[in-house]
């Protein structure tokens, strides 16, 4: 999916491999028992619940990312340097075929969403205006804009629980400050047809910025076709947010980024109130060098997602076609009741997503966690 100039990759890899040569034996010794212990967890009777509520990726982080963390653990006394952040930004720019000036690296994509919201609320006539968004949808950006004084204009998803772009376009007016689309959508895991989304973005961005949250897009079947990053490169007023928390399995390390017009990027970056964490930046950078990790992990997630869909079908549960590392399905009971029943089987699922209060979002966990989940679903829906 991500393509860097081959030369850069090789040079970087060479430097890195030379740097860690002395640690190879130690690393094998180190990672092996840790992994072995993990394997034990998988076969032993689980005391720990299957944590399927946070859309985390138990197949990550990548070995190169783990290596970067281990190798730099005793350097954590240094702040992340400007050079380290710049290197990550440059790699992301190259991978996304945008300029470095289009990239803002943040403490998770959360920081990008928060700071873009702050920036946006100061544009034009200031706080207020309207944000057009889907319901149910991800509420971080809309929540922040609401707190900053905007009205959130929600547009129901269509019958397939996909963003209804025509209905959303109809809501864009002179007071619209931005349109927000999470694609795949959280919590429904649905993706918008790419050609239609592209046309929508080009048209609507003439009137107001369109914010595309691609937190889960790397998990989908066709990232390259679906990402709106090329529209940023082409100069449209589009913001694309991504994260290392999902496909890259670095949720704990808080690294995300946004792609946006250069002038906006500069001002959004200046709103940061925090510093990046060093091991997160180094792990994210190393992740981009994994040649096979993303495709292998995507395949593992898809395999487990397909199995979950098969079970849900068998249990006659409705669910829209999932493209993220989670599935949204109809439970036919209040979410609190369902959570309780699943918790009794040692499975934790996600919170309520109003107004879909008799639906549940379940993340794709490890095969062992999913085995527990399948058994729990069969019992609850027996």
């Amino acid at each position: 999916m991500l393509s860097l100039p081959e030369l850069n990759r090789r040079q970087w890899l060479k430097t890195t491999v030379a740097g860690v040569a002395g640690l190879t034996v130690a690393r094998n010794l180190l990672v092996t028992p840790a992994r072995a212990q993990h394997e034990d967890d998988r076969t032993a009777k689980r005391d720990e619940p299957a944590r399927l509520g946070g859309n985390e990726n138990p197949y990550g982080p990548s070995p190169m990312a783990v290596m970067a963390i281990v190798q730099n653990a005793d350097k954590a006394f240094r702040y992340a340097t400007k050079e380290e952040a710049t290197k990550l930004g440059d790699l992301l720019a190259a991978d996304n075929k945008v300029k470095a000036e289009n990239v803002v690296v943040g403490s998770g994509s959360t920081e990008i969403l928060e700071n873009y919201a702050k920036w946006l609320s100061k544009q034009g006539s200031g706080p207020g205006g309207e944000i057009v968004s889907a319901l149910p949808g991800y509420i971080n950006f809309t929540g922040k804009m609401k707190a900053l004084g905007s009205t959130i204009v929600t547009v129901p998803l269509d019958d397939n629980m996909v963003h209804d772009l025509d209905a959303m376009a109809a809501k864009v007016g002179p007071n619209t400050k931005a349109v927000y689309i999470c694609n795949p959508n959280n919590p429904t895991s649905t993706i918008v047809p790419p050609a239609k989304l592209k046309a929508f973005c080009i048209e609507i961005s003439k009137k107001c910025p369109v914010f595309i949250d691609e937190a889960y897009l790397e998990c989908s079947d066709n990232f390259a076709e679906n990402t709106m990053a090329p529209l940023v490169a082409a100069g449209h007023n589009i913001i694309v947010a991504r994260t290392f928390s999902k496909m890259y399995g670095l949720a704990g390390q808080r690294v995300g980024y946004g792609l946006m017009p250069a002038a906006v990027a500069k001002e959004v970056a200046a709103l940061s109130e925090t510093r990046l964490n060093k091991l997160g930046v180094l792990a994210a950078t190393a992740s981009l060098e994994e040649m096979t990790y993303v495709s292998e992990t995507r395949a593992k997630i898809k395999a487990e997602r397909d199995k979950l869909c098969a079970t849900l079908k068998e249990l006659k549960r409705k669910f829209p076609d999932p493209q993220g590392n989670f599935v949204f399905f109809h439970t036919g009971m209040p979410i609190a009741t369902f959570q309780e029943k699943m918790a009794a089987e040692n499975v934790m699922v996600a919170r309520a997503f109003p107004p879909a209060l008799d639906w549940c979002r379940m993340s794709i966990g490890s095969p062992e966690e999913m085995a527990l989940a399948h058994a729990a679903l069969r019992k609850v829906f027996a």
Copy 2:
């Protein structure tokens, strides 16, 4: 310095040691080459500059913190859990003899300063009012308050470059929103006489909150006597900020905390826009279990600080008595010129601190970095 109930320490240590038993060999193999490489750095001709501008602590992180990072590197796919953050908060509460409700853990003490500023600007009649602070002093909190609409009333340090508490008290009036004191002060490294500060805090906090930034206090000769944490425990309107970035050598991992009245703590915590990073939280927690790390590191910093003071004295440079991991000295030339001269000798020093523009703040680095710094100072001041 920090005292936990002995029983808790032991239980925790036991659990941890059991958990890492399988990694002991790997850890030795792992840490040894990394440390050995570090030793090489110290004796080899340095290509890297001595980085003495960021008040980082090259003696850290502690071995237990490094271990926590290494051991949990492959768990970074999980967000930091509430339980992990609670455990750290509970340890800090016990160490500081306050209630857990008095503790706010943040992404560096920066987040505590920022969020307390946001909270404060909403109190009373809202944004505006005055913040009483020293000049030169640390500008994060005052800068944020200024951005939020407050007037910063600056009070010059006394002739020894120490906070002039009488002059500050005289500036407190009906419009004062808070008093901010960084102790030891950044950039001067001076500490306020503890009995006097305590009396000041008790008296002034009847009128407005007093914010004591103790980022560097663990580096001082007598932490227990100088910390104002007991005043938080006693119910005064005092805020104490601390960080794992300095003495604990975890600057890169962004963990800090604040101690404050419980009702305030709850509201400040709710203002957080970010999540803690998992490896940072686990490393910080492990750091608190090191029985000897803090005292040993403090002694190393003091030894190098004493040597630096001796050289500065020999070179007839004025400097106030330092208590942090840095020294502020008179250069007799514009800071930009001095930075340039030091950079030519491969030593990086801190930025300008107006209005003391012919003074320099230099952090205490490793013995090897300091050797470079001594040589550079002798050359520049020859």
